[in-house]
Symmetry: C2
DNA sequence: TATGTTTCTTGATTTACGTCAATGTATGGC
DNA sequence: GCCATACATTGACGTAAATCAAGAAACATA
């Protein structure tokens, strides 16, 4: 249940047994069936979600009704409408499960409490955000610099398993290109 | 000298007089003339730079020799090749001044020391990264979802002064479009 | 096994935006 | 005040990738 979480935490910080025992109290477990919504644009995003098993996507829907995926999150990833979570604004993101999933929810008050009661969690999140920032930076560079083909190949290099696990149509949306274009890239 | 920095810090955390007195010790001041390089791709990025006055840009250069701006940083912003700074890899970014600038440099060892000696700085950086993450997220959505015109208008809405301060050619590069396209957008 | 649903492929066509090239307009150093 | 350099505009043209449309696989449900 919390194994995946501990593993993630211990990649960045060290935890005492006391920390380990108290951390679960801050979280709530939730199961999502494939396609089940966790958050809808317009609602307030009141939690950070940690993915224990399965996979989720976060995305916007534009005026034409087209989905634009901002994040694909599988085991060990956090997903949320961060802006909404932090500043109590309405969410612009939808989040739903693309596989049956088990997630751990951290509410805002518990998040803040956790940072105080387990000070090394402040450090964990600083490092987590620091790393995410780097990843997002590279994605932005990639998005503004590369051709569709380069973007796709770059993604496969970073996450070689992704094409087995995530449908092409979702990968396309994540890269801001179309599934037809990916088909043509694969054909060579 | 440190006023801009204190102001930024105090937007996110509160500082004791003792903190205020000790913080400058961790930084080194540097002046850059317009066009002067702070970092070159291939070097190791050993500092975080805080912009006290002026403006800098960070960018990649692709095989065709074209610049792709990843960040425009003016007073109150931090700029760095984060990935290089954190993980001691070679930088992929160039950073230079687009106006005469005064910056405060924080070396990695001082950064780590500062986080320990002034614990509220751990909190400051967690919040800073948290916010940057939100901004980057929106930029990515924007980059994958919007047309050139929407991207440009969106930027003007976020930073209304930007077109007075930053040359159009740099704004274009930042948005991943061309200066010709911006000209055409402005014509209507 | 059949039946719908989702995903992937392929071709024909369109389009937003880039590229190239020429000209115009600021801006700053001497 | 002049010249050089940087920056912006405009037009003609090319192209990468989107859109539209139709089938073909793959997968899931009964």
């Amino acid at each position: 249940m919390f194994d995946e979480l501990y593993q993630q935490l211990e990649e960045k910080i060290s935890l005492s047994e006391k920390d380990k025992n108290c951390i679960p109290n801050f979280f709530e477990t939730k199961f999502l069936r494939k396609k089940q919504l966790l958050l809808q644009a317009g609602e307030y995003c009141r939690t950070l979600a940690f993915v224990s098993t399965g996979a989720l996507k976060s995305y916007t829907i534009d005026e034409k009704g087209i989905e634009h995926i901002s994040l694909l999150a599988w085991e060990g990833w956090w997903v949320s409408d961060f802006k909404s979570f932090i500043s109590d604004e309405k969410a612009i993101l939808f989040i739903d499960a693309i596989e049956d999933s088990e997630i751990l929810l951290l509410s805002k008050s518990n998040y803040e409490q956790l940072l105080i009661e387990v000070p090394s969690m402040e450090r964990y999140f600083r490092i987590l955000y620091q790393n995410s920032l780097v990843t997002k930076d590279r994605r932005l560079i990639s998005s503004n610099t590369y051709t569709a083909e380069e973007k796709y190949n770059h993604l496969l290099k970073m996450y070689p398993f992704i094409s087995q696990r995530i449908p092409q149509i979702l990968i396309a949306s994540y890269l801001g290109i179309t599934t037809e274009t990916i088909s043509r890239i694969k054909k060579g």
